[in-house]
């Protein structure tokens, strides 16, 4: 038994019922219990990461006999790396919550759901078979919806929770079909059996395509890929700590993780890989463009996540030997700098009481440490060496160069958008003149310390990851000049552009937006998320809602209608009989 591997996810899950119990003793105990629990989980995961062993799958008792499923724990490079990373970021976010959520009511609900959220994500990562994976996948979805709706007195928050649940559940429906089709096809859902070369050899590209496509639709819902991405920007209605958890540590990474886990199956079908690549690049571009036009700091970060996740899927869609590793690397890297950006943004939001960037500006002097953290996050996001973002982006970019000019060019555009929106955000929040009268100061230590820890990790992570061999990229030990030069040039150019339009020539840029109709229209379209929300709400309002009212009116008070309906079925049966269909 590898006890540490089991305990990594069992400890947070087992602490969930302790939170309500702790609230009976002392209110403050709840937060500290959550810190202790995620801390223990982090310790156990780190222990696993530092003592590498052979990949193994352990099973205990039969759990769901109908599909020969046992409760399993999977210990291999992927699960150990992702579990350690998830535990690390979650632990810091829970510590940050101590300060951020201090005066909020409903802490029992908050901390129990957060622990359930983190425990389920860790359980998902360590799952040894698809059924157990799906069980935790669903739990993650439930927790995220309830946490997004945490501030229940805000109707917008409740709506956002519902939206997140419905949209991700739409993807989950596809995944459920995929899980069961996998069982029907392979006779097992255990990863080590179904993904073995001999087992994969029995299914060709023909069978891999529908399976992989259904899984990818599930991943699109969870990882907010176009067109199932609309829930993520709205999910910003939740507390910032929850946003950080969803964006960096838990929820959205699950989809990428699924595709990486299933990569041996996915790469069997070329047409599937092209679909993944197309959706990934489209999401990277749409997310990046919408982030550039958003004014709400959290929405910028949300669209940025969509864009970064798009890059990860693009890496998988490129179908190279290193694709899985590159996607995982960028998942870890994105998680670190996005968590850092959210925590720093949370401190700004707490200080100013607004999320609107047009009310921010010039905060660099007043909030030095927060500024430093946010700066590092922005630089890592744009891929400045030697921060972690540079290495992971470079890994994806070198795969693209290997595959052709079209993906290379599109990725460069996505990189340019990334630097544009992240520098625009940095300049508008921390530079320029102050637009708020409010007296701002640094947040308390419980909020600063996690920010500092993440800042350090953004700087040092690449060394730890590469020298501990947690990421193994065959073509990637020293960066190649041919790949780094274009991306650095793009970084410099778009950084300068962002400086020009947000600070130096701001008034001219604003004037241009007002004068040139096309620019203004584009900006409006982007800030409305390119109309995806409108499409869905009108589909509901114009199709589903009238349809449901119509169908509901079938059931009336009048007995005559009801008897008529009964007669209709009987006649139908007799018609079927007469037609020889029976």
């Amino acid at each position: 038994m590898i006890y540490s591997a089991w305990l990594v996810w069992v400890v947070p899950l087992a602490s969930v019922p302790l939170i309500p119990a702790a609230s009976l003793l002392d209110g403050r105990l709840r937060g500290w219990l959550a810190v202790a629990s995620t801390g223990a989980s982090l310790g156990l995961a780190t222990f696993g990461a530092m003592s590498p062993g052979p990949a193994s799958t352990e099973s205990v008792a039969i759990w769901f006999p109908s599909m020969h499923v046992s409760v399993q724990v999977e210990v291999d490079g992927l699960s150990v790396l992702v579990a350690t990373f998830v535990a690390f970021v979650s632990f810091l976010i829970v510590v940050y919550s101590l300060g951020y959520m201090k005066d909020e009511p409903g802490q029992t609900r908050y901390y129990s759901l957060v622990l359930l959220f983190v425990g389920s994500m860790l359980g998902l990562v360590m799952s040894g078979n698809l059924v157990q994976f799906y069980f935790f996948w669903e739990l993650v979805g439930v927790c995220s919806a309830l946490l997004i709706a945490f501030w229940t007195d805000r109707p917008a928050a409740r709506r956002a929770g519902l939206k997140a649940f419905v949209v991700t559940r739409l993807g989950d429906a596809a995944l459920l079909v995929a899980v069961i089709l996998t069982f029907v096809t392979f006779g097992t859902t255990t990863f080590s059996n179904m993904l073995s070369p001999s087992s994969l050899a029995t299914v060709g590209a023909g069978a891999a395509f529908p399976l992989g496509l259904l899984m990818f639709v599930g991943a699109m819902g969870k990882s907010a890929q176009v067109p199932l991405h609309g829930w993520l920007p709205d999910a910003m209605e939740g507390p910032t700590t929850v946003s950080a958890l969803i964006h960096a540590a838990t929820m959205v990474n699950a989809g990428v993780f699924l595709m990486v886990r299933m990569y041996p199956l996915v790469q069997l079908s070329n047409s599937l890989l092209s679909i993944v690549l197309a959706v990934g690049i489209l999401s990277a571009l749409v997310g990046g463009a919408c982030a550039f036009a958003a004014d709400d700091i959290k929405r910028v970060l949300a669209y940025s996540t969509i864009s970064q996740l798009g890059l990860m899927f693009a890496a998988i869609g490129l179908g190279a030997y290193d694709s899985g590793q590159a996607a995982t690397y960028h998942m870890v890297s994105q998680g670190l700098f996005k968590a850092l950006a959210f925590l720093a943004a949370g401190s700004v939001i707490t200080a100013l009481g607004t999320r609107d960037m047009s009310e921010m500006g010039g905060l660099a002097k007043k909030m030095k440490y927060t500024y430093l953290g946010f700066l590092l996050a922005v630089l890592a996001m744009s891929g400045l060496p030697p921060l972690v973002g540079f290495w992971s982006k470079d890994a994806i970019f070198s795969l693209a160069i290997g595959s052709g000019p079209a993906p290379t060019a599109l990725l460069l555009v996505a990189f340019a958008l990334t630097s544009l929106y992240s520098f625009r955000m940095l300049f508008r929040v921390f530079h320029g003149e102050r637009r708020s009268e409010k007296d701002v100061s640094e947040p308390p230590r419980s909020m600063l310390l996690p920010t500092a820890a993440l800042s350090v990790s953004v700087v040092l992570a690449w060394g730890v990851l590469q020298y501990q061999n947690l990421v193994n990229l065959s073509a990637f030990s020293s960066p190649d000049l041919a790949t780094t030069l274009p991306s650095l040039a793009v970084l410099a150019a778009s950084g300068t552009t962002a400086y020009a339009i947000t600070l130096r020539y701001r008034s001219r840029a604003v004037g241009l937006l007002q004068r040139v109709w096309a620019l203004g229209a584009m900006r409006n379209a982007l800030s409305r998320g390119l109309g995806f929300d409108w499409l869905y709400s009108s589909a509901y309002g114009r199709v589903l809602s009238p349809l449901s009212r119509g169908v509901a009116s079938l059931q009336t008070e009048r007995l005559r209608t009801n008897a008529g309906l009964a007669v209709f079925v009987v006649v139908l049966v007799f018609v079927l009989y007469a037609a020889g269909a029976l």
Partner: protein, 489 residues
């Protein structure tokens, strides 16, 4: 041969008589008057559960055993794993409803008749579940309906009487159709035993009989378009009655359909030649009704603003999923349907019990007047939220596995040819489940999280013990499904 069906029915019937006597005899003595009938009923159901559990091991054999038995209820009975588990589910829900109802009715003179009817209903349900031939099935089917009319009218206001009359008409149509189907099967095969259905499907005439029988029995299971009585009954009846109808009667209706298809399934317990007959017409009929039932159920539920109506349409949708599983005519489908009867029954009766004691007017159960209940009473909010999540098939509740089993039975039937009708039925099932989030999240958003309009009275803890136990049973099923699947089912 397990004797539990007759023994259980004898106990329940005797209980019904004693609880009437207890109420009449106890008029002079207050505690007996207040709790006598309820205690007798609860005890009778508990004893039946013990009897059933002690006979359980014998019913786990691979084949159904039919044998006429000597008893007060002498007839032909079946006690296989499906029958036993469904009877167990029904008895658990009846036990919960009986325990819950002890404090529900304030007028003591109502208690005797109520508990007597509850016991005769439960007795009939067990009879329907374990019947081995058409005569037995029909007799208990009528017993179930008659007890049902009485119970539904128990609210004694206009709404419940109206619901009862509507139920009476629709169930009457159903019974007639079922009887006609039985007669056709008899004239095609010369057998009144359920086993005779196997012979009937070899001729179109016999298949007609089976089809009409399915439609007739489908009324009680609320198969669209014969579902129209269900919303009225769920809203018009008093809450304990809604709890038992939604949890036990609808499930028994579905099980009656399962009984009709069981003799056609190889490995289902009856001797079936291999390869098993493939009555394509019947499977198509079941599949088509399943599709209509889940669609109409879910779409209608989306439009509801009254919680009890919403719950009733959600039951219709669940019937649709179970029918879809049954349409595969496979053991997996049978297991899926029976397991769903258990999971759905637990959650639905729990839902009606947490709705709690209010006047049975429609207005009291509208989402608007329940708005904010969860804010004024946290425990109630927790129960509402977890029940709603459980109903959309979220883990860790039992219905999560039901959902997987239903889809698994469909995809297994579809085989490796993806664009087969069963594949699309599976897709319809998962999309319908997504739709159900639309209305159950509405429950969470208004009832649990909304701003309270009226001052709501906090409910005593004792009111929540029974629903919490049902919820706990659902969570246990969800966390350790193997205690049921693969062992008793």
């Amino acid at each position: 041969m397990s004797m539990w069906p007759t023994t259980v029915m004898e106990v329940l019937f005797a209980g019904a008589m004693i609880s009437l006597l207890a109420e009449m005899g106890g008029r002079a003595y207050k505690p007996l008057r207040d709790y006598g009938a309820g205690l007798v009923a609860t005890l009778a159901i508990a004893i039946s559960l013990v009897i059933l559990a002690s006979g359980w091991a014998e019913s786990l054999g691979p084949m159904v055993q039919l044998q006429p038995v000597q008893s007060f209820f002498a007839s032909l009975y079946v006690a296989d794993r499906f029958t036993t588990f469904t009877a167990f589910a029904v008895l658990v829900i009846a036990l919960a409803v009986s325990a819950y109802s002890m404090r529900y009715f304030s007028r003591p003179d109502l208690k005797g008749p109520f508990f007597a009817l509850l016991l005769t209903l439960t007795c009939s349900l067990v009879g329907v579940i374990s019947a081995g031939d058409f005569i037995t099935l029909f007799l208990f089917w009528e017993g179930m309906s008659i007890s049902g009319y009485g119970l539904v009218a128990f609210g004694k206001d206009k709404l419940s009487v109206e619901a009862s009359v509507k139920y009476f008409f629709m169930a009457g149509i159903g019974s007639l159709l079922a009887l006609y189907g039985m007669a056709v099967i008899y004239s095609a095969t010369g057998s009144m035993q359920l086993q005779g259905i196997l012979g009937a499907v070899s001729s179109p005439y016999g298949q007609l009989g089976v089809a009409v029988l399915l439609v007739g029995l489908g009324v009680e299971a609320a198969v669209v378009p014969l579902h129209t009585w269900l919303p009225d009954v769920y809203t018009g009846a008093s809450l304990p009655v809604s709890a038992v109808v939604s949890g036990a009667v609808t499930g028994t209706g579905v099980f009656a359909l399962a009984k009709v298809v069981q003799p056609l399934i190889a490995g289902g317990g009856y001797p079936v030649p291999i390869p098993a007959p493939e009555p394509v017409g019947l499977a198509t009929l079941l599949g088509g009704l399943a599709l209509a039932t889940m669609l109409v159920g879910n779409l209608s539920a989306l439009a509801q603003s009254n919680l009890r109506k919403l719950l009733s349409f959600s039951s219709v949708a669940q019937t649709g999923y179970m029918l879809a599983a049954l349409s595969t005519l496979s053991v997996a489908g049978l297991v899926a349907a029976v397991f769903t009867i258990w999971n759905h029954g637990l959650l639905k009766s729990n839902f009606f019990m947490i709705l709690g004691k209010n006047d049975s007017s429609l207005d009291a159960s509208s989402l608007d007047s329940l708005r904010g209940t969860g804010r004024s009473d946290r425990r109630l909010g927790f129960l509402y939220a977890s029940s709603s999540l459980a109903m959309v098939g979220a883990p860790p509740f039992g219905l999560f596995w039901s959902e997987i089993l239903v889809v698994q039975s469909l995809l297994t039937a579809a085989g490796s040819s993806y664009p087969s009708p069963y594949f699309w039925l599976a897709v319809a099932v998962v999309l319908n489940i997504v739709t159900s989030i639309g209305y159950y999240f509405k429950v969470i958003n208004t009832v649990v999280f909304g701003e309270p309009r009226n001052v709501l009275q906090r409910r005593p803890l004792t009111d929540l013990v029974v629903p919490s136990s049902l919820m706990a049973a659902s969570v246990i099923t969800g966390l350790v499904p193997f205690i049921i699947l693969g062992s008793v089912l």
